[in-house]
C-alpha cells in the first residue's frame, strides 16, 4: 500500500517561478526515501508540500490514498510527524515537555496527557536515549542531543509517516550515524514510512531504500538507492565529480574538487579493509 502518492506536482512561490515541475512518485508503506539535490532545488519545499504546509500549484498529494487537503490540521498531525532542523525555543521548555507536545493532536479540551500519552512519550524518550536528560531544558543540550529530542517527539506522535528536513546537517559524524540508526530502527521495528531531505548521499546510500534526486533545472530521478546513485547521475545533479568506492554491497562517494589528485576513478577497496 502506498503511504504517499505524489502526482504531477508543480509548485512555485510566485506565479512566474516554478521550483517543482510535474513530479510524480509513490512511497510504499514502511520504506525509507531520501530526497537529495543541490541547494535551491526545492527539497524543503517538497517536504512542506508533503506535510500540508504549502498547497501545490498543480497536481495532487495523497496520504493513505486520501488527498492531503481533505485532512484537518489535527488529523494530518496524527498521520504525519515532521522533524525540522533543531532549534532552541524562545521559552525554556524541558525535554519531556517538548516531547509531550507530540501528543497535542490527541489531547482533550484542557490539554492534559492521559496514560497512553505518557506511555508513548516515555517510550520515545527511551528509544532515543533522551530519558536521562528529560528534565533538562533544550537550551542546555548540544545540537546532537536536541536533534534526538526532536526525533523523540516525532516518535511520540506515533504517526505512521515521518518527514525529516536535513536531520543531521549540523551534527558530527557520530551523531549523524546515531540519528540515522534511530530512524532505521523506527522504520524496521514500527513499520514507519520515512522521508528525509538530506545533503549526505553516503548516509542516504547506507540507510535509505529509495532516493529522489532533484536537480536545480527541475528534472528528477527516483528509484532504488543503489540504482540511482552513480557518479554520472551525481555529476549531472550536483555538478561535482565523485570517487566511488565499495564497501561490501554498499557504494560510497567522495566528491572531488579542482585540487583532487586523482579523479573520477572507481575503486573496489573492500579487500583493503580489515575488520578486527
Amino acid at each position: 500500500m502506498n503511504a504517499l502518492e505524489v502526482e504531477n506536482l508543480s509548485f512555485g512561490y510566485t506565479p512566474e517561478n516554478t521550483i517543482l515541475k510535474d513530479i510524480s512518485f509513490e512511497v510504499i508503506q514502511g520504506r525509507f526515501l531520501a530526497i537529495a539535490g543541490p541547494n535551491g532545488a526545492g527539497k524543503t519545499t517538497l517536504l512542506n508540500l508533503l506535510c500540508g504546509l504549502l498547497r501545490p500549484k498543480a497536481g495532487s498529494i495523497k496520504i493513505d490514498a486520501a488527498p492531503v487537503e481533505s485532512y484537518s490540521v489535527k488529523r494530518l498531525a496524527q498521520k504525519v510527524a515532521v522533524v525540522r532542523q533543531e532549534f532552541v525555543p524562545v521559552f525554556d521548555f524541558t525535554v519531556a515537555q517538548m516531547v509531550s507536545m507530540a501528543r497535542t493532536p490527541y489531547l482533550d479540551t484542557f490539554g492534559f496527557e492521559d496514560k497512553t500519552d505518557i506511555q508513548m512519550v516515555n517510550e520515545a524518550l527511551e528509544a532515543t536515549d533522551t530519558a536521562r536528560f528529560a528534565l533538562r531544558t533544550l537550551g542546555s543540550l548540544s545540537g546532537g542531543e536536541r536533534q534526538r529530542v526532536f526525533i523523540a517527539r516525532a516518535l511520540a506522535a506515533n504517526s505512521p509517516i515521518l518527514l525529516l528536513d536535513e536531520p543531521t546537517s549540523f551534527l558530527d559524524l557520530k551523531h549523524q550515524v546515531g540519528i540515522y540508526d534511530l530512524l532505521k530502527t523506527a522504520q524496521l521495528k514500527k513499520d514507519k514510512t520515512i522521508v528525509a531531505v538530506t545533503h549526505d548521499i553516503n548516509l542516504a546510500a547506507q540507510y535509505c531504500d529509495e532516493i529522489l534526486l532533484l536537480s536545480a533545472d527541475g528534472n528528477y530521478q527516483i528509484g532504488e538507492t543503489k540504482d540511482v546513485l552513480s557518479p554520472e547521475q551525481i555529476e549531472k545533479v550536483f555538478g561535482v565529480r565523485t570517487f566511488v568506492g565499495r564497501l561490501g554491497q554498499e557504494k560510497f562517494f567522495i566528491p572531488l574538487g579542482k585540487f583532487a589528485k586523482d579523479s573520477g576513478k572507481t575503486a573496489d577497496i573492500s579487500h583493503n579493509i580489515q575488520y578486527k
Binding site: 504546509l53 490540521v73 490539554g111
Partner: protein
C-alpha cells in the same frame, strides 16, 4: 523518567496560590487610613446604618476595591502570558499592541466631548476606554496581517506604529484641552483603581473570569504556538484560528481591565516572567498561576498606593512601575542561568 503535569498537581498548586491570595486580599482590605478590626467586621452590619463602621468600610469600600484590583491584576497577567506566547516574544505585554494608546485616546475623546451620561451607575469613561482599546487592537491586527507574511513581526511593528501615532494624537488633544479636563485624564492614564459600582464590578468579574477560563483551554496549544507557525501546524494546531481566538480573548480581557483601572504597566510583563522563571514555561500552569499572582501583586500595589501618602492616594500605576523594575531585575539576576534567551 519524565514528569508530567497532572490535573491533580495543578489543582493543588492553584489551591495553595488561591489560599494565599485570599489571605493577602483580607489583610490588604484591613489596612488603610482608618483602622478596622476583623472581629468587628465579623460581627455583621448591626441594626442600623453607622452602627458598625468597621463592617461598612470593609464590605462597602475596601473589599470591592481589593476585588477590583485582583481582577485587573489577573486580567493583565493572563493577557501578558498569552501575548508573549502568540508573539513568541518574552518582552511583549498587553500594551505593546496599542491597547494603552487606544484606551487613552478613548478617554481623551470622552473627556473632551464632555460626556455626562451614566453607565451601570458609573462613569462612561471606562466604556470609551474599552471601545478605544478594542478598536486599536483590531486596527493593529488588521495592519499586521495586511502588511506582511511574518505575522509576528508585522503585528509587533503595527503595534509600535499605532502606539506612536495615537500617543501623538493624545498629546495634541492634551495641548488643546482645558487644564481641568487634562487633570481628570492624567490620573486615569497613570493607572488608578477607584471605587466602582457593585454592578460594574460583578459584570467585569464575570467577563474577566470567563475570559481566563477560555484562555486556559488554549494553553496546551499556546505551548506549541510558542515554537513557531510551522512547528505548531505540524503538531496539529490550526495556527491562524488559534492565534485569532487567543488574541481576541486576551485583548477583550485587557480592554476590560483598562476600562476599569486605566493604564497599569508592568503587571503584564513581570508577572508572567516571574512565574515562568519559578514554575517553568508550560502555559497550562503558567496562565492560572500568573492570574493569581498578578491579582495578589496588584492588590498589594493598590494597598500601598492607598496608604503611602495618606490621606492622599497615588495612582497604582506609579507603584507597579517603581516596584516592578527592581523586582524584575532581581528575578533576572537570580534565574538568568536557567533562561536560555538571557544568555
Amino acid at each position: 523518567m519524565a514528569e508530567f503535569l497532572t490535573v491533580k498537581e495543578l489543582a493543588v498548586k492553584i489551591s495553595i496560590c488561591l489560599a494565599v491570595l485570599v489571605v493577602v486580599m483580607c489583610l490588604c482590605a484591613i489596612v488603610g487610613t482608618q483602622n478596622i478590626s476583623m472581629r468587628r467586621v465579623f460581627d455583621g452590619p448591626g441594626q442600623k446604618a453607622g452602627e458598625n463602621i468597621d463592617y461598612e468600610i470593609f464590605i462597602g469600600f475596601r473589599l470591592p476595591r481589593v476585588i477590583l484590583a485582583a481582577l485587573v491584576g489577573a486580567a493583565l497577567a493572563c493577557s501578558g502570558v498569552v501575548l508573549q506566547a502568540i508573539l513568541r516574544n518574552p518582552l511583549a505585554d498587553p500594551y505593546i499592541l496599542g491597547i494603552s494608546s487606544g484606551a487613552g485616546l478613548g478617554v481623551m475623546v470622552a473627556v473632551l466631548s464632555g460626556v455626562t451620561w451614566n453607565f451601570l451607575g458609573g462613569s462612561p469613561i471606562g466604556i470609551f476606554a474599552f471601545a478605544g482599546a478594542l478598536i486599536t487592537v483590531w486596527l493593529v491586527w488588521y495592519i499586521g496581517h495586511f502588511t506582511g507574511k511574518s505575522q509576528v513581526t508585522s503585528l509587533l511593528l503595527a503595534g509600535v506604529v499605532v502606539n506612536a501615532f495615537f500617543s501623538a494624537v493624545i498629546m495634541f488633544l492634551t495641548s488643546i484641552a482645558k487644564s481641568e479636563q487634562v487633570h481628570s485624564t492624567i490620573f486615569w492614564l497613570m493607572g488608578n483603581i477607584t471605587d466602582k459600582s457593585l454592578l460594574v464590578l460583578w459584570v467585569s468579574a464575570g467577563c474577566i473570569l470567563t475570559g481566563i477560563i477560555v484562555l486556559f483551554a488554549f494553553c496546551h496549544r499556546l505551548n506549541v504556538l510558542a515554537l513557531g507557525r510551522e512547528e505548531a501546524q505540524s503538531l496539529g494546531v490550526d495556527v491562524a484560528r488559534t492565534r485569532i481566538a487567543a488574541f481576541a480573548c486576551a485583548a477583550f480581557v485587557t480592554a476590560i481591565a483598562v476600562s476599569l483601572s486605566g493604564l497599569i504597566g508592568f503587571v503584564g510583563l513581570i508577572i508572567p516572567h516571574g512565574v515562568r522563571l519559578a514554575f517553568g514555561p508550560d502555559h497550562r500552569q503558567l496562565l492560572p498561576i500568573s492570574a493569581i499572582i498578578g491579582a495578589g501583586f496588584l492588590v498589594i500595589a493598590d494597598t500601598i498606593a492607598r496608604i503611602i501618602v495618606a490621606p492622599a492616594q497615588l495612582p497604582v500605576g506609579v507603584i507597579t512601575a517603581i516596584a516592578g523594575g527592581p523586582f524584575f531585575l532581581i528575578l533576572l539576576a537570580k534565574y538568568s542561568r536557567r533562561v536560555s534567551w538571557l544568555k
